[in-house]
Symmetry: C2
Subunit: 234 residues, 2 copies
């Protein structure tokens, strides 16, 4: 979709505890990490994109295959073109962190202390890493934009997504803030994205992060046969 | 501004003819050309951006200097990052056309037959080229975007602008169609831009070009101190 970001959905129902020890207040650390995605992550990214499309009630518009993504992403250095931060979580500290350090970006790690451990019904499909304990929980895809009024680049966030069982824990905020932080450190002028006007929860979340929702602007889109009709127009 | 495109404004008053010969039906060819902009065009581009800001009633948000533009534009090959098509017009055929041919883009030329010659009050400020007869009339700035749903890149049009005395002659359509044509030829999935919801003339113009205006999406923006606050958030 044009852009989207479904943070905390309306029903604030945490995952059911699976045992007595799961209800220890703050006793369940969730180790979270944001790192640059690599081509090896494409299978997870493709699944996350399709989950986002279902959330947005736009699944019929979502046709991206792993092959589509592989042929169009990771063609340029990070931040200069389409860039993906991957969100991973683990119940244990990350072991192979140095593998994801690069001159472009140092992974961001945070320990979130939960009262209950998370029950992840898709842990198998999203398991990543050598020890099997690391799970892909979300992503953000963004790319450089340009503000002629500021005379500066910015970032446009196309997608921000956290899998349902990991929402309402500050992870969506952590992902978006990582993009904003990167923009600020690069001297960029702004970060923009689009939100569905019926997604009041998301709008509140974005406003709390300091964003303004612009009431007057509407997105125009030329696609499919209507775009193709311009191919030889000149 | 986020994005914009002010095509034909409401008052359809063509420039007053300056002499008898100016009213010959179709007897006034306006030679028009779209070519890739170069760093030498920055002074014109800066003036055009400020005219656009005034049109959008957003002049107070427009701070871009020539130096800002020079330090952020023309850093990558065309179409891979921020790209500008410049619109030039002349009452005579273009002479130095070959200078603007490149492996990336062949200039698009069209002859528009007008009933009256155009009276350009800013011809001096926008005169370009060796023979002094070529005038910069508008521009479009765009950059690659990415659709996760399509698994394909697209273009996002940040600005589309034609100077007032050259509007209502099909030049805005020619500029936007040039971007759409380029997108189609590169196999891209869509072209998007933003429009102010009060600009009914622009909306009609875009819909006639085949675009859909998306009613549900709103643009969110994080900028200034609110963006800076995220710098060390991680």
């Amino acid at each position: 979709m044009a852009a989207a970001a479904p943070p905390p959905p309306p029903t604030p129902a945490p995952s059911a505890p699976t045992g007595l020890s799961d209800s220890t207040p703050g006793g369940h650390p969730l180790f979270s990490r944001i790192r640059l995605a690599t081509p090896l992550d494409i299978p997870y990214i493709q699944k996350l994109i399709h989950q986002l499309a279902i959330f947005e009630k736009l699944a019929d518009l979502c046709t991206a295959t792993e092959s589509d993504l592989a042929s169009t992403l990771f063609k340029s250095p990070p931040f200069h073109s389409f860039t993906i931060f991957l969100l991973e979580v683990s119940s244990r500290p990350f072991e192979n962190d140095s593998a994801f350090h690069s001159q472009n970006f140092t992974p961001i790690e945070r320990i979130i202390n939960l009262d209950h451990s998370v029950s992840d019904p898709e842990a198998g499909a999203f398991a990543n890493g050598i020890n099997g304990d690391v799970v892909v929980a979300g992503f953000v895809l963004f790319f450089p934009s340009y503000s002629t009024f500021l005379g500066k680049p910015g970032f446009y966030v196309e997608d921000l997504f956290v899998r349902e069982c990991y929402r309402r824990k500050g992870l969506g905020k952590m992902l978006l803030s990582a993009v904003a932080s990167q923009a600020a450190r690069m001297g960029y002028g702004r970060v923009e994205w689009a939100v569905l006007d019926w997604n009041a929860i998301a709008i509140k979340f974005y406003e709390e992060m300091g964003a303004n929702v612009l009431p007057e602007w509407r997105i125009c889109r030329l696609t499919g046969p209507a775009l193709e009709a311009h191919r030889d127009a000149n």
